[in-house]
Symmetry: C2
Subunit: 201 residues, 2 copies
DNA sequence: CCTTGGGCATGACAGGTGTCATACTATGCT
DNA sequence: AGCATAGTATGACACCTGTCATGCCCAAGG
């Protein structure tokens, strides 16, 4: 019997997964949760064979849950199931040594098959993403550029950041300008988006 | 037999819906599609009793499909199934006289039950949204403010808009400033977001 | 040793953005 | 008619944003 925990915040999809997987004779859904913290509790309490994790959930993200499970050395297969094909997410998932990274755009049969493969000790990645596993571009941003970009993305104003880093506002703008050019975009906001997407901040 | 077409771009969810609804003895899934245009073709060709529509899909949105079905006077129940609780979307759906507006955050059983209710001629709206059906705030934006906001949202620069409307750039900025204040936000971009959300542009 | 290149830091500059005071018009109320 | 209100339109102002030229420092290589 393969014992499974499902963590997914969209209720309808979570329920659908549970019902469908339950139909497989050797699958047992032992718990369904809607957030990262509950997922961790359940994994600790129930020791499932497999945990399906969405990435964007309230509380902890699926990637954070995966990392924590690995850090604590728990013996549970981790499968990320997400909408997002972002290289940055995939990279983080790989760093956390997840057993599968599937897109919700795959057919549902793919999920069932992937679960069986993972139980055989194999790793599964959505075919669509297989390429980007190899083509990880290096981060072109310097330490300072990343720092400033991060702070802007957290809502800091130019002035606020300058004070916090003991710089003039002109210098902060300069880092942003530099980052904007390296990322080949027009505004700081687009720069943040792109850097996030690639996992560079 | 209730004949159903499903239009939903996320493959896994679409497949899950199909499999689960198929389990009901009196439901028949006659077609699954992933975009608005295909949905319209299928509705025309197969004359289903019910069509489940996602809103954000490639090609036509679910709301546009709903409106078209009504305009052409086709006799098909329309059920919107979406992630988004935006008042603007709900409003447009109501204007198109859809038979149901459900959030993907509802339990899956809710969908099955809703389908039966709709077949009995009832209308179904997610409980969470029931309130906002009555509390539709009036649009505080003037004609000009809406126009300028729309043009900015389509990527027009201040200068471009000014030329197009035969105004000075100062005047255009003034409308934006006014809209920004009415919407109680900080930037034109947030103003666009909020106005979109409420269906005011 | 000197040169080169890259990161760090600054301030000047041009242009964009939001606010404000102001003015004109039309509408509706007294 | 007199008045208040709301929409339209303008330009002045202060501030923000992105770019650029410049200089400093340090490490790698000739």
């Amino acid at each position: 019997m393969i014992r499974i925990v499902i963590a997914e915040d969209q209720h309808m999809l979570r329920g659908a997964f549970a019902s469908l997987l339950q139909l497989e004779e050797d699958f047992e859904i032992i718990s369904q949760v809607s957030g990262g913290h509950e997922a961790l509790s359940m994994i600790e309490a129930c020791k499932p064979d497999i945990c399906l994790l969405d990435i964007e959930m309230p509380g902890l993200t699926g990637l954070e849950v995966a990392q924590t499970v690995r850090d604590r050395g728990w013996n549970c297969k981790i499968m990320i199931v997400t909408t997002f094909a972002r290289p940055g997410y995939l990279q983080k998932a790989m760093n956390a040594a997840v057993d599968a990274y599937l897109l919700k755009d795959e057919p549902i049969e793919f999920l069932v098959e992937a679960i069986r493969r993972v139980m055989q000790g194999k790793r599964v990645v959505s075919p669509y993403l297989a390429d980007s596993l190899f083509t990880h571009e290096a981060n072109p941003l310097t330490e300072r550029e990343q720092e400033v970009l991060r702070m802007v993305s957290e809502g800091g104003t130019t002035r606020h950041i300058a004070e916090h880093l003991y710089l003039t506002t002109g210098t902060v703008r300069n880092y942003l300008s530099s980052a904007i050019q390296k990322l080949e975009v027009e505004t700081r906001h687009h720069a943040i988006e792109k850097a996030r997407d690639r996992g560079w901040i």
